[in-house]
Subunit: 408 residues, 2 copies
């Protein structure tokens, strides 16, 4: 049955409704690439009694445009600011979208997705996944290929919808000024989803035998470099310590990446990102800078990783704890963020109390972090990806530096 | 003296502090290009008794990294989520940053800004301003040129700081769960800014004799097109109607640009933007799409503008009013957005009650909008800018379409 959780925030004035289904590349089989993402687009082209235009007007009445996205392993529909009095209506609309899409004008939406494929925004992610998860469904792009897109029919989408729209494959979180008993009544239309279990992962992930490397030529003076290290997933031992490590790297202005890369004048943009799947993650250090500075930037990023293997100052950990206190306070006023975090935890059967997750981070000590850094920041866990067109000598120096990297 | 306003939101858990000074291209004279922006960067490299590192740690203690940016006519410092108990300390830090910057390591920060210049994010804005405000200081880039940047010294920055850091040139807004009397005490350190009047605008803006056109070749399959129309500024008659017009164009999923461009399959990204200065504005319709579709996208955008000249359906206006109701509700929980909007109004001596501004939008009727559309969507007010490398025939068709455009 449908997993539902209420986060009661009586002081706020809007309700966030987050609904997630397992889907995306992780669950798409051969020949199914990009189905979840295309379905995400088509779900809003009319549903039940409503044309697309009427459906959009109805969403506007309850609180605004639905935000929808497809990740590596989920399709998420999110209404961030529903008027509390219209929560029932919002849930009816979501049920209608999931259960009775009209798939109006497939060709126009195919063009929209074709346009989305031209957007470079996800290119670095795509490159990284293709290398870090090589040979696994997760290596595929969320959007699928142009060829995938070109051949999709309404029947394909409808077939896929029937596979993923099942109560056991879906989770729902309502966060805001609506008490749990009213939420239970309001979500009734969504509890009528067809019965059925969660999709199962098709293939377990194995540890990579890196380092691996991918690059793609993009004209321009600026280049983007990402160094990703395979790390524990959300359901694994070490998940909390990994989040703390990411925070030491880039949780605030005193953390290591901004200090060593930006404050030092190497780049305007540098940071970390953390992809967390239940059974695997990627902790990435990244920088965008002039192609002529790439090898210096890579040296600095690798230096940051190496330094964490040698020690973590308790004062640094105290700063991370301070940032976490601020985060707890911010979350009190941020229903959308709470809903989105929680729905993913529910969807994958993980403990879904945010406070407990933050408590687990508080409990991580310096020794644990050094041990983790020693485990993660190793050659064989590294995937390096580059987007850009650096000067030839610089590209060579970068490759050499990465090939020779072997932390002490 | 310093203009201060409190927005008391007792139900929230964090305080937003927004501080703005007149500055930016509008107030920079010949030879001063980019000074405000570079100063914005250098203000955080140590202040008063604190090194840069200590300063960042102190900001982290009060609530997080300061957000700072330079616009066409202002330098804005924004602390979005201060712990209420630490508001006094936050104000001390802001005063220290403004009054006693240490300018540590200018060369490193010069490199950071040089890197920022490589970021394409502001290129379309720069092109648009250079054409729409040709011959005026506003035509210059906010970041200044590489040559400007190369020659700046600490003395230049300090000289400029002394010009803009004056009580009469500064406005401050505190929004959150701190009552006005405590805010008054907390902001005392900022009330000690040197006395002095607001900077005066160097040159009035005249209406353009368009259409004007700028393009810049950027390799890639995708191109960005923006059609900007000179419109009333925030202090001018017609400001509220202009905001409503922007909302009809792109305020929600049922508004005109998403329907005619995205839903129709022409693009993945299309929308409007509204630049509002006190005495002038730019209302822009824009699209990013395959270069091969540019002339079709331009036709659709111009069609949207033309259609507004012929009529506005009262039902459409009712939808805009509905969106505005949602906006009022959202603002109740959004201290940073309220602080940022209000501080700009204070800085330029405009009425600073958000509710009153929304009421003025409610009062706009269809006839007023049609009149305004007829006034704005005209050849002579048009600036068209293109970033991309469309196929040659397509670029020619686009130019022809724009050159021939003359709304009925």
């Amino acid at each position: 049955m449908l997993a539902v959780q209420t986060i009661y925030l009586p002081h706020l004035h809007s309700v966030a409704v987050a609904l997630a289904l397992r889907g995306g590349p992780r669950y798409e089989g051969d020949g199914e690439g990009g189905l979840t993402h295309f379905l995400e687009h088509m779900l809003f082209r009319g549903a039940g009694p409503r044309s697309m235009r009427e459906l959009m007007a109805a969403f506007e009445e309850v609180g605004g445009e639905p935000d929808a996205y497809t990740s590596e392993d989920a399709l998420v529909l999110h209404l961030e600011e529903v008027a509390p009095a219209r929560l029932e209506r919002a849930c009816e609309l979501l049920a209608s979208v999931l259960c009775a899409p009209r798939y109006e004008d497939l060709e126009a939406e195919r063009e929209v997705v074709r346009e989305e494929l031209l957007d470079r925004a996800h290119e670095l992610d795509d490159l990284e996944r293709s290398a870090a998860f090589s040979g696994h469904p997760l290596a595929r792009s969320i959007l699928g290929t142009r060829a995938d897109l070109a051949r999709r029919s309404v029947d394909d989408l409808e077939g896929w919808r029937r596979q993923i729209v099942r109560s056991g494959n879906t989770a729902l979180v309502v966060a805001g000024p609506v008490p749990p008993e009213r939420v239970r009544a309001a979500v009734a239309p969504l509890e009528a989803l067809p019965e059925g279990p969660a999709l199962a992962e098709r293939r377990p992930l194995t540890l990579p035998a890196g380092p691996s490397w991918r690059s793609r030529r993009e004209p321009g003076e600026r280049a983007e470099l990402r160094l990703s290290f395979r790390c524990p997933g959300d359901a694994e031992e070490g998940a909390a310590a990994t989040r703390v490590l990411a925070d030491l790297l880039d949780g605030g202005p005193t953390s290591r990446v901004p200090q060593e890369l930006v404050d030092a004048g190497l780049a305007y943009d540098a940071g970390t990102s953390l992809l967390s799947l239940p059974d695997a993650g990627l902790l990435a250090l990244e920088v965008a800078c002039a192609g002529s500075k790439l090898s210096a930037a890579a040296r600095a990023l690798l230096g940051v990783a190496e330094a964490l293997r040698t020690g973590v100052d308790p004062a640094e950990l105290a700063r991370a704890r301070l940032r976490r206190e601020h985060r707890r306070r911010r979350l009190l006023d941020d229903a959308p963020s709470q809903a989105e975090w929680t729905v993913r935890r529910l969807l994958f059967g993980l403990p879904a109390e945010r406070e407990a997750a933050l408590d687990a981070e508080d409990a991580v000590d310096p020794d644990r972090l050094v041990d983790l850094a020693r485990e993660l920041f190793r050659r064989e866990r590294l995937t390096a990806v580059l987007l850009g067109d650096p000067p030839r000598g610089e590209a060579r120096r970068l490759r050499q530096r990465l090939a020779a990297w072997s932390p002490p």
